[in-house]
């Protein structure tokens, strides 16, 4: 049983490991994550701007996405980086911070169609920018 438990811990540690140096592969993966959050935020903002969502759903879902973007921003800002991609990693970190702030605004104004309409395009642009950084 002890061996089994050890193996389980090892498996979880290996599979869940998300730290370490940011290499090109990690940069691509994290770019996709930032792009995903921005793109999903844009979809949500679009719905809010049309009055097609609910206050509580927007408040809660925008907050969890904002938190995820903020976590990515922090991780990218402090993790060591492979030579040659440091600039892109820091850019991505900044972009994740921007996405987090925009989603936070959606969280704070879950029924404000004007705010949502003003966030729709910037979030879409952020998704495109993240996509570019991942290439």
């Amino acid at each position: 049983m002890n061996r089994g438990a050890l193996a389980l811990v090892l498996v979880l540690a290996l599979s869940g490991c998300n730290g370490g140096t940011v290499d090109e592969h990690a940069l691509k993966r994290d770019s996709e994550k930032v792009g995903s959050l921005a793109s999903e935020g844009s979809l949500l903002a679009n719905d809010v701007s049309k009055g097609a969502s609910t206050k509580y759903f927007v408040r809660v879902h925008a907050k969890e996405m904002s938190q995820a973007a903020s976590d990515l921003q922090n991780a990218l800002a402090i993790r060591p980086t492979s030579p040659g991609i440091k600039r892109d990693v820091r850019k991505l970190s900044k972009l994740a911070g921007k996405v987090s702030e925009e989603l936070e605004r959606l969280h704070l104004h879950p029924t404000d169609r004007g705010v949502a309409a003003s966030l729709k395009e910037p979030l879409k642009a952020d998704a495109d920018a993240a996509d570019q950084l991942g290439k």
Binding site: S53, T54, F57, H61
Partner: protein, 407 residues
Amino acid sequence: MKIFQVALGILAAIGGFVDIGDLVFNVAAGATFGYQLLWVVVIGVVGIIVYSEMCGRVAAVSGKAVFDAVRERLGFKVGLVALISAQVVNLMTLTAEIGGVAICLQLLSGLSYRWMILVAGVAFAIVVWVTPFEWVERVFGYGGLCMLVFAVAAVKLHPSWGAVAHGFVPHMDTQSPLLYAYFAIGLLGAAMTPYEVYFYSSGGVEERWGPKDLGLNRVNAQIGYGLGGFLSFSLMIVGGALFLEKGVQPEFLGSIALGVEVPLGQIGLLLALVGILFAVGGASIDTLFSGAYNLAQFLGWEWGRYRHPRGAPRFTVTWLVLLVLALGAVMTGVDPVQLTEYAVIFSAVALPLTYIPIFLVANDRSYMREYTNGRLGNVLGLVYLVVIMVIALTAVPLMILTNVGQN
């Protein structure tokens, strides 16, 4: 009247088919590979139909539920390994399902997640304690029918129906074959998750099925699970039609509901959230009872959800303890969606320990008399045993190699 009852049972089965594992893996598979993995859902649904029918038949003819068979056919030591692995996976699944219910309540009410965990726990305890079980099953099953809004959303998203049809033909058009294999295993594990057969066979024993009910067993398994699979298709199509194109990786339960909000607006969102709430809530109760069934059957205790708690005290204490453990685990802040992925993959590893004993008992004339597996049942059963073995051996390596589907 009989047809009416069967229809009600089928409706409840459809509404109760989807759990958090199906939600997470189907939508994520669609968002990652479009409709390419629809064929895997078909394989998974046929697998659960084959083995549910088999263990329902064993329950009807021999009066034995799954863990009776496990103990008898595998012996105490191997049976104990099967029991421990089943209980670990059950507890992980229960934790994920309760977390899912709490998230749904939070998305509907805007209240704190931790409070919603407590509300969910207390509500489950009260509902299970005071409500007649057939009502619990039906109410959650019918509530889960709101999940059909995903089918409407799938149509409204105007997917390429040619590509959808092509998805039912096995093919692999990707540069990430390992990730493709990981999702295939996850989809099979989610469709054939063992707690479903523990619950199904124990229900058959409790409802005192006999050989006269074999037709009902077959209809329930084939139509209930078959139509339930339709919901899985809808989830994957929503993932493929909306999220793949937009580059969204659905990491939250809210993302899954957003997949309905985009094409159907506020009403669609509310129906999706209510549907997820009932479907995942019903799965929580099934999982809770499955854990108690397994232990009670293995140790020869009195068991049964239709009995008064005093008639089966150790069974009652077991599900109460499981509920408290799961609530404690959710309270630690573990992410239910991530936990679901681990639960599905580890349940895939445990599949042979559940399905092999069922297959052996279903072929044993001393138990089954003239009701042993027919030729088709044996061919399908054997094919699925091979599939299950492959899944069990590859699930964890694929999880590691793909970083839990992240790469």
